[in-house]
Symmetry: C2
Subunit: 387 residues, 2 copies
């Protein structure tokens, strides 16, 4: 019998006291919660408990594996600046405890009865979303991230979750609807695949929409986790990449990524020398900054895409400066599931790999400070065996 | 002998004591300033003297009519929200006294010796610019408004001006380089032509760039001086226009302009009902507002053009909301001189006329209050004979 998230069935199952009868299991999984609710999955992770953003070890329950769900034994989860913003309340009040993490990879250890996309033992990844309606105009064109009912991977109301909200990937397992997991090819290591689930797709999607490639001059502003992936993706497409960083210490790395043109932006005036020279720019800067000064580096009537999300999601733009730049400003939010599979496959096939630093769970808080202080080089990946 | 702005020549001319020898004059003009500087033009106008923005009568000097200049006897000048913003210091500190006004029409009363574009007696208009380099990449493609050396019509440093800054059109005359004046066809009244010099060109330029016409659904947000011109222009092009106003009292007027779809935005939520329905939107709202809420009315990957300029030129955009809208946001600044002539000719030929209210100089301060309070219907035009 399959575990269901529906309350009536849950009650029935409680009475039946069945443990994973309809599930294909690869190994021992705690299928009963401490409170005795049948089928819930016990998970160990690191959670924020208040806006301090300091994470602490936490054991919690995930929903039972439903007919359309898979259970993933998480191997690695990487750290995104978004994790920090959301846990610290920069994007609005949060429910705590909350487990962040939306760059998640592991191995499938159970599948629901309707699942054909995955089988036990498959390598799988989960990104920023874990559910949507799959029926609206956005879902129909594979842009589930814009569905009004999208459940993002952590902190979103989720009736099926024993904690009431979605809980992310800084943990040892996750239950997710199969549609919202992607396959991780054997040609890429799991730890290198993890950052593709957010940093990869978030930069890949707008770069592909902008059709960057041979003959295009592409700017990348903010060279952290997302920025260094934007560089590597654009370079791999044959574009002439121009990087803009506030960290002189990153210049050599950036050249190593295949970028000839690196500008250290110690002052917005440093951008003026490049006014109107690029075809397109993507900015990963996740804080308030002088958008128009960066946009002015793009040629008139070119486009500038923001992917970094600042505090309160507020970006203040100087209207007169943007008018002089004559640049189209837009904001892109991750990418759909089809495109997420695409970027993982693309990176695996083309050797477009993030620069990672493997850490243990106990190092997360220190790593967060380093992300904020621009010391990450360039993505911290947590070994989930240490949760 | 022609009057020159160059100091050496000015000194020579002072010695020569010639009064307008090389100028073709249509009538008596005060060619000597009170301080005895030869050739300067005495002008009567209304000036702001501090950030209160209260205007007072003021007599001042304009530069002598140079070889490439024309002297215009101003007949009408209309009131733009920009006048108020700038005089009140909303866009930065100002030099006072300063005469606002950049919607200026009148009759040419003198031309410099190099001028072939105009002759004495011609009807002429001046908009937001009075000079630029005419040599840079922007000027070469008729976008003088983006030239780094553009002198805007009031409050800009101008070495040739006896007051040190450009002085605008709330006055009885103006001296301007011929390139920065346009012809006013006989088929339009001077008072109806005045608002075209800013409100007309500022909306015409982006509407033409967006290629609005039959088959396009165009939104106009903020139905004041600029907004009502945007409506009339888009309607005249055959577009299906959707108007968004915060003033229920304007609804009937707007329908009278040929708009079937009028939404009163008493709350940004009123916009949600129209999400993703339009091809393009232009916003004339000259204050901080919820840009992304309006932009979300445009279909994904459509464009949204801001032309209203808020205080400090600051527009705060919600990045997540703009990402969900997937709309290209841009800002457009007036238009070039060639296009300014084009909009005046277009409006004259097609009967696209602003709604105007004729006022006397003494009513300016009251009119400004009404503009701020959204009571203008829709452009105040000052009778320059009353200065």
């Amino acid at each position: 019998m399959t575990q269901e998230i529906d309350r009536e069935k849950r009650d029935f199952m409680r009475a039946s006291a069945l443990a994973g009868g309809g599930l294909l299991l690869s190994g021992p999984v705690v299928l009963f919660a401490a409170n005795g609710q049948p089928g819930t999955i016990r998970s160990r992770g690191y959670a924020a408990v208040d806006t301090s953003g300091k994470l602490v070890p936490w054991t919690f329950e995930r929903r039972p594996v439903g007919d359309d769900d898979i259970l993933i034994d998480i191997k690695y989860a990487s750290i995104c600046h978004s994790d920090i913003h959301q846990m610290r309340g920069h994007w609005g009040p949060q429910q705590y405890p909350q487990v962040p993490g939306h760059e998640i990879v592991g191995v499938v250890t159970a599948v629901g009865k309707n699942v054909t996309k995955f089988k036990v033992g498959d390598r799988a990844g989960v990104g920023c979303m874990v559910d949507s309606c799959l029926d609206c105009e956005h879902c129909e064109i594979d842009q589930e991230q814009y569905c009004p009912e999208t459940t993002f991977t952590y902190g979103y109301p989720m009736a099926s979750s024993p904690t009431g909200i979605s809980q992310g990937g800084y943990s040892n397992n996750i239950v997710v609807r199969d549609h919202f997991a992607v396959h991780i090819p054997e040609t890429i290591s799991l730890q290198e695949a993890a950052p593709l689930l957010c940093a990869g797709i978030t930069t890949y999607s707008p770069l592909m929409r902008a059709d960057v490639g041979k003959g295009t001059k592409v700017g990348v502003a903010g060279i952290g986790g997302l920025g260094h992936m934007a560089i590597k993706l654009a370079v791999s497409r044959g574009a002439e990449v121009h990087a803009f960083t506030t960290s002189p210490s990153k210049v050599d790395d950036i050249r190593g990524f295949g970028v000839e043109h690196v500008t250290v932006v110690d002052d917005p005036k440093a951008l003026a020398a490049h006014a109107g020279t690029l075809d397109y720019m993507i900015s990963t800067i996740p804080v308030q900054y002088d958008v128009a000064a960066y946009a002015s580096v793009v040629r008139p009537y070119g486009a500038f895409t923001q992917v970094g999300m600042p505090e309160r999601f507020e970006l203040t733009i100087n209207s007169i400066a943007l008018s002089i730049a004559r640049v189209n400003f837009n904001v892109s939010l991750i990418g759909g599931m089809k495109e997420t599979q695409e970027v993982v496959d693309y990176c695996a096939s083309n050797g477009v790999l993030p620069e990672i630093q493997l850490i243990k769970a106990g190092q997360i808080n220190d790593a967060w400070d380093k992300v904020v202080n621009k010391q990450a080089r360039y993505r911290y990946v947590i070994d989930a065996a240490t949760f």
